[in-house]
């Protein structure tokens, strides 16, 4: 009690003296950085997720082959979720004498819950967003369907027993699939019109879906509620398991934001640890004095803890204010990029950041406080008397516990956590060991250099443990900054490729062999580059190594689903640029032997297929046996036609093949597509432009997030460097005054200080660059599934920048000490 009263009574003096400013600013900066990162992560993460959910047209979709039970809808209403229903099935539709197979999709009011449907008034005309569903009595028809039916807007088509008017051309719906699974073009109609068509009868192949959207927690609650009663035939999708490009980009952005959150937390931890250490060290003399005056250990540690907490609270308040201001400014800056229909952010990020900073402060200051408690009172007579160093285990234990607790709440990604924490631990150990080695080496070799050098290097050696700790702090700070730079570069590069100006935006499918030349001819006439025609044969898998696929237990539901439907097969002599062999071998270009197949790796895993196994397919009534030769990794983000199964050349000779082409068509060249649709009605034109736009939107938001968060983390990193330098500033002040009193020039002293930091920076920077490269490689390839590109330029920039940053923060911090008149310093207490 006495101690608490004392601590509170004296806190004002501490603040006034300016001694605790470093600790205060470390805490404040940590809170500000964590708030900003937390805020951005939340906002942009939500915006990105929203956009990604568009591919479902909902936040959650339940698909069932049976009519939807009423309980689901009731449950959704109970949780105050928006809902919409869809039913779809293939059916032949008629217009005049023409007919075509169509995917009939009937939707209820509210569809789509996420994203917008877009329509146009005429084929390939300008499109606009629709705010409604087709009015009763009308349909919106896919352009391809209209071309095949030779119909235009205003005409009537027959769907089952109903005649419905074509109200608009359906150019985009968020949940359209990019794959080739649904070859039939869509006709969208009002669910209320469906009964009259009389198409839905006992035994019809209708897919029912319930779409729900709302607050994340409500959606989760809803799902938890219905989950147990879901029949096996129901397929549930939310954005986590939708593997479209858009979801991919958004998942990576989320991961990167998690990574930055973790890293800014780590940086804050290092900054706080450094300044807490200094806080305790500076107090050593005062505590020894207080003990000689009769203060008990309990008193000392309680007073110090209370003061630390009070300082922490002041720091947190200042930091929260900065963070809150940053939040406001960012919100207005990003207004049009971040969906404004999101719930307001509120104070949650601020509270989270404040809590984290306090926990870090306690966790990282504890070892120093314990050391303080053991400060020997004898110090008042023998100044070099030091308390025993706190047990390493204790230091590591409390600190790690604090960090792990924070990180666990920050991200759920165990692998990312493992890599980052394990990596940091490894890097710290190497840094510390190297730091000690450096100290030992410098301790021996310091003859024969100028005074400034000797002074600087001698300093490194003399400070021993403290120098090693500094190397660790500098090194860790630089490592995470470089790590973030490397991963960010890989991420942006990957996205850049996705956003490649030449990425195809249109697919032509179902092209017959003889239609290739006329189509190429149309393109040539419109001055569009000739497309590549990729062959495609549809076949059904029948056996794996002699076992009937009907009897095989597949490792995953997806595997079962894949094995039981028609697969798209192609053949190729050369491996596509967007594919990589992960195991087995690709066949030689002139291969002519027994048919081989190369399978996409995830599909192979889903199917449980191994290299060398034999698969049989039935194609057009004939059997063909294939040997599994390799597994491929496919970059689905490339928007090029890709296949799960690629066969060796010649394997499909003699089977009826259709062809697929992908190409980039500029807006003004779209007439060519119309021409193709009219001249070759059986060819389907799939317009990817809308989906590309969507991916682009996500990537732009995500890029912005990555950049903004990066800058905030950079600020936290610089705080670490500064805290590390500050921790030796007292000694420096005294030494510099002494040297100058002895007649050494100020410039010489300054040069000495810079030498010292350059030496520390060089070692720390070099190790950091190495550590960061390894970690970036791990994280890029394992967590982000991106290609890691080693860049020597980035490496040396990071290294040079690191040294410069260390020197600069050293200079800024030490300048005051060096410029102070020696008399002032030597007079002190």
């Amino acid at each position: 009690m006495k101690a608490i009263v004392y601590a509170i009574r004296t806190i004002g003096r501490e603040l006034r003296s300016g001694e605790v400013l470093v600790l205060l600013s470390a805490v404040a900066l940590a809170v500000a950085a964590l708030t900003a990162v937390g805020f951005l992560t939340d906002r942009i993460g939500k915006a990105v997720a929203r956009q990604a959910n568009e591919v479902l047209a909902a936040d959650l979709r339940l698909r069932s082959p049976e009519p939807l039970p009423a309980e689901w809808l009731e449950a959704a209403e109970r949780f105050e979720l928006e809902t919409a229903e869809t039913q779809n099935f293939p059916s032949v539709v008629f217009a005049g004498d023409e007919s075509s197979l169509a995917n009939v999709k009937a939707v209820s009011a509210g569809y789509p819950l996420r994203g917008k449907v877009r329509t146009a008034n005429r084929l390939f005309g300008d499109q606009q967003e629709a705010n409604d569903i087709p009015p009763a009595g009308s349909v919106w028809a896919d352009g391809a369907l209209m071309a095949r039916l030779n119909a235009s807007v205003g005409d009537t088509i027959s769907v089952g027993e109903s005649d419905l008017r074509i109200d608009a051309v359906l150019t985009y719906r968020p949940d359209q699939s990019i794959g080739f699974a649904s070859l039939a073009p869509t006709v969208l109609l009002n669910l209320n019109d469906l009964p009259a068509t009389n198409l839905v009868k006992e035994g019809s192949r209708v897919g029912y879906a319930l779409l729900v959207a709302g607050r994340e927690s409500d959606v989760d609650d809803f799902y938890a509620d219905v989950e147990d009663d879901l029949p096996e035939s129901v397929r549930v999708r939310n954005r986590e398991d939708s593997s479209e490009s858009a979801a991919n980009a958004s998942a990576r952005a989320q991961k990167f934001l998690s990574l930055t959150a973790v890293i800014s937390l780590l940086l804050s931890a290092v900054a706080i640890a450094m300044s807490a250490r200094r806080f305790a060290h500076r107090r050593m003399d005062t505590v020894a004095l207080m003990k000689s005056l009769g203060a008990s250990q309990q008193f000392v540690i309680t007073a110090a803890t209370v003061q630390l907490l009070l300082l922490g609270i002041v720091g947190v308040c200042v930091g929260s204010l900065i963070g809150f201001a940053a939040e406001k400014i960012l919100t207005s800056m990003l207004a049009d990029l971040i969906a404004n229909d999101l719930p307001p952010p509120g104070l949650q990020p601020v509270f989270l950041a404040a809590g984290s900073a306090l926990i870090l402060l306690i966790g990282f200051a504890m070892p120093s406080l314990i050391q303080l408690r053991n400060a020997p009172p004898l110090r008042v007579l023998r100044h070099d008397e030091m308390p025993p160093a706190p047990s390493r285990l204790l230091v590591a234990g409390t600190s790690l516990l604090a960090v792990a607790a924070m990180l666990y709440s920050a991200i759920g990604d165990a692998r990312l956590l493992l890599y980052v924490l394990g990596g940091m631990l490894g890097v710290s150990i190497v840094l510390y060991a190297t730091g000690r080695l450096l100290v030992a080496l410098l301790g021996r070799s310091r003859g024969g250099v100028g005074i400034a050098w000797r002074y600087g290097l001698a300093n490194v050696a003399r400070r021993g443990r403290a120098s090693a700790v500094q190397v660790v702090a500098f090194g860790l700070g630089l490592t995470v900054l470089l790590l973030l730079t490397f991963v960010r570069t890989d991420l942006l590069k990957g996205w850049q490729q996705t956003l490649d100006e030449n990425a195809p935006n249109s697919f032509l499918i179902n092209i017959q062999a003889h239609e290739r030349d006329p189509i190429a001819e149309i393109f040539a006439r419109n001055e569009i580059g000739a497309p590549d025609f990729v062959p495609m044969v549809r076949g059904r898998m029948t056996t794996i190594d002699g076992d009937d696929v009907k009897d095989i237990e597949f490792p995953t539901e997806d595997g079962k689903w894949m094995a039981n439907r028609e697969a798209n097969l192609t053949w190729a002599a050369k491996l596509s640029e967007t594919n990589d062999i992960v195991s087995g071998d690709w066949w030689p270009e002139d291969y002519q032997g027994d048919p081989l197949v190369s399978i996409e790796e995830e599909a192979a895993a889903d199917l449980g297929v191994e290299l060398g196994q034999k698969l049989t397919f039935t194609i057009a009534g004939q059997e063909i046996q294939l040997t599994v030769a390799s597994f491929r990794e496919v970059n689905w983000d490339s928007f090029k036609p890709n296949f799960f199964m690629v066969l060796s050349p010649g394997a499909l000779d003699g089977f009826p093949a259709t062809f697929v082409a992908s190409l980039k068509v500029q807006a003004e060249e779209r007439g060519a597509l119309l021409e193709i649709a009219r001249a070759h009605p059986s060819v389907s034109v799939i317009d990817l432009e809308s989906i590309l736009q969507q991916v682009k939107g996500i990537i732009e938001k995500a890029t912005l997030a990555v950049q903004a968060v990066f800058i905030f983390t950079l600020a936290a990193g610089i705080a670490v460097l500064f805290a590390a330098v500050q921790s030796t500033i007292d000694e420096r002040r005294f030494e510099s005054a002494m040297l100058r009193a002895l007649g050494v020039q100020r410039g010489t002293v300054l040069f000495g200080v810079l030498t010292e930091f350059a030496a520390l920076g060089l070692v720390a920077g070099f190790l950091a660059a190495a550590g960061a490269s390894i970690l970036a490689w791990l994280i890029s390839t394992r967590v982000f599934e991106l290609e890691y590109s080693f860049s020597p330029l980035l490496w040396s920039l990071g290294l040079g920048g690191g040294i410069l940053l260390v020197c600069l923060s050293g200079y800024v911090a030490a300048r005051g000490a060096i410029n102070a008149p020696p008399a002032d310093v030597l007079r002190a207490a």
């Binding site: 004296t10 003296s17 020997p376 007579l381 023998r382 207490a829």
Partner: protein, 225 residues
């Protein structure tokens, strides 16, 4: 009041064991003023630290104001110090972040004394620094700093005052003033005084002189006036 019984102190140094004090015994009465003299390195500061309970002897026992220091743990010794001990050091040991007044308040606040500020202000004016109470240590001269330290030592009205070469860092004139102040305050409070010094004339102003040589007590004589 204060008694040392066969007190020895050894330390382990890189060159092996080193005996700093060997078998030192003496007793000091209430109100006595005692000087400890000896060459540099004789073990004076070490002895003082042991007497004040800042450190423990390797063997032997020490009693202070009815407490056996050598039987107490660190907190126990701290309690004894809080109740009975004042210190003046050669190198002042003021807290740089506190001003003169606050430095004097420190032991009062540690003991949760009431009216700490008022008491501290009283003593500050007794040492003649009432004008400088708000100044920080860095703004004071050596003599002024030592006066603040003396004020701090007497603030809690200790039963025994330990001083380790309190004038060692001051010129002889200032040192003389400081010692005068200390003796005056000591007489007024009738505290016991233990003073480590090199200065023979200073030692001569005490009631008794203990001489140390290479860690051994070589003489213990009353001063005749």
């Amino acid at each position: 009041m204060l008694a040392a019984n066969n007190v020895s102190k050894q330390v382990i140094s890189p060159e092996g064991g080193l005996t700093i004090l060997s078998e030192v015994s003496f007793e000091i009465d209430y109100g006595e003023s005692v000087a400890i003299v000896g060459a540099s390195g004789a073990g004076k500061s070490t002895l003082l630290a042991l007497l004040a309970g800042l450190d423990l002897p390797t063997s032997g026992s020490i009693q202070l104001d009815g407490n056996v220091l050598t039987d107490l743990d660190e907190d126990g010794r701290a309690r004894v110090r809080a109740a009975s001990v004042g210190f003046v050091f050669q190198s002042f040991h003021l807290v740089p972040s506190l001003n003169a007044l606050e430095n004097v308040m420190l032991p009062l606040e540690l003991g949760a004394a009431e009216n700490a500020r008022k008491k501290a202000a009283d003593i500050i004016s007794q040492v003649g620094l009432s004008e400088r109470g708000r100044h920080y240590p860095a703004q004071l001269s050596g003599g002024e700093k030592q006066r603040v330290a003396i004020a701090r030592a007497f603030a809690t009205e200790p039963a025994v005052l330990f001083a380790d070469e309190p004038t060692g860092n001051l010129d002889s004139k200032t040192g003389e003033n400081i010692m005068q102040l200390m003796f005056d305050l000591n007489r007024n409070s009738s505290a016991t005084l233990v003073l480590v010094t090199h200065d023979q004339s200073l030692a001569g102003r005490c009631d008794r002189i203990l001489s140390l040589d290479a860690g051994a007590l070589v003489s213990d004589e009353k001063v005749r006036r």
